[in-house]
Subunit: 184 residues, 2 copies
DNA sequence: TGCATCATGTAATCAGTTACATGATTTT
DNA sequence: AAAATCATGTAACTGATTACATGATGCA
């Protein structure tokens, strides 16, 4: 399991509340690891119980109080231990591919609009990633030479961009194939 | 959930036992949907209970009997209904990316061998996919014109190939970045 | 007045993983 | 004799999703 570790990384990058983490998991770190607020609150509680996190109650004016979490030394240790462990290369879990193969037994043309919708969504995501790259990774280097964190965040983002580009090209291939089969 | 649907597709392509399905989930359909035999047996039992599958006890010489499952009309209907439902474009779940961002807080160089291992594994998978493409999709068309099932299986495989190629290029990018940061 | 955002959670359910378990046959 | 393959499952646990729940503030 890696949600705890994704949370540790995110909190090391910047401490924050459960709510804030949930928002980060809708962007940034969420580009390659998703989680809902329910999951996050549950795991935060467990991590706090394990002494991995420090909590600070932050009173806010005109807003409910929030609990700001930051990584405690045992949390750091847990992250470092996990970084040492080998993980197995992930396998895909691509629902759309199941549908495409299933379409052979129904009407392939009926899938066209669904695939177009996915094409659109991935195009939007690519645009969003590219805007983020322009915003965060085209300025001058931080003073004091290379910033490892920034470089590593950038290479991960480049992975997201490559994934979206590849997916867009493939979905176009799927659309062409479906049109060919439908004779349109 | 789509495991039931992946099973329906696989059984429509060819009826088989739970054991045989588990093997297909290690290849072919497993390229984009994984499942272990425990999961498969559990779901098969439920699907049988729901009347989605027909079972035939097949006695075998010199081997334990097997239960051969095939798709019953209600199972077909369930698959077709699912094919109509829109699904949301999937989000990635990339553990290695979490590690890469985490490495900023530890020693980035320590990740190099892990990334190399992944590079190797994806290279192997690509080789395997390409061999499958050569084997299954370079012969002459089936007699009687285009075979929709074959075309659709091929476009899904092309997706797997594109994914592995993209991943290999990205992992190389990651390695270059790590080496740059480590000064090696 | 109504909707969106900030902020936190519980409960129930569903899906997936890991470990355990059995027993025959075939290959090295 | 040992290891691999065929064939089937159960049990316990962990992780993820969905639905429900509350309550304040800010904006249109």
């Amino acid at each position: 399991m890696a949600l705890e570790h994704a949370i540790l990384v995110s909190l090391l990058e910047k401490p924050g509340s459960g709510y804030e983490l949930a928002r980060r998991f809708d962007r940034s770190i969420g580009y390659f690891w998703t989680a809902t607020h329910q999951q996050i609150y549950r795991v935060l509680k467990r991590m706090e119980g394990d002494g991995w996190l420090d909590v600070r109650e932050v009173p806010q004016q005109a807003r409910p109080d929030k609990k700001e979490y930051s990584v405690a030394p045992p949390g750091r240790d847990a992250l470092f231990a996990w970084l040492q462990e080998p993980i197995q290369p992930e396998s895909l879990r691509h629902e759309l591919a199941v549908k495409i193969r299933g379409a052979a037994f129904d009407d392939p043309a009926a899938l066209i609009s669904e695939v177009e919708r996915h094409h659109q969504a991935h195009g939007d995501r690519l645009t969003h990633y590219l805007a983020g790259e322009l915003r965060d990774f085209t300025g001058p280097d931080a003073p004091g030479g290379r910033d490892a964190g920034r470089e590593l965040q950038h290479v991960v983002l480049r992975g997201g961009i490559a994934y979206e580009r590849m997916t867009l090209a493939w979905l176009q291939d799927v659309l062409d194939t479906l049109h060919r089969l439908a004779g349109t």
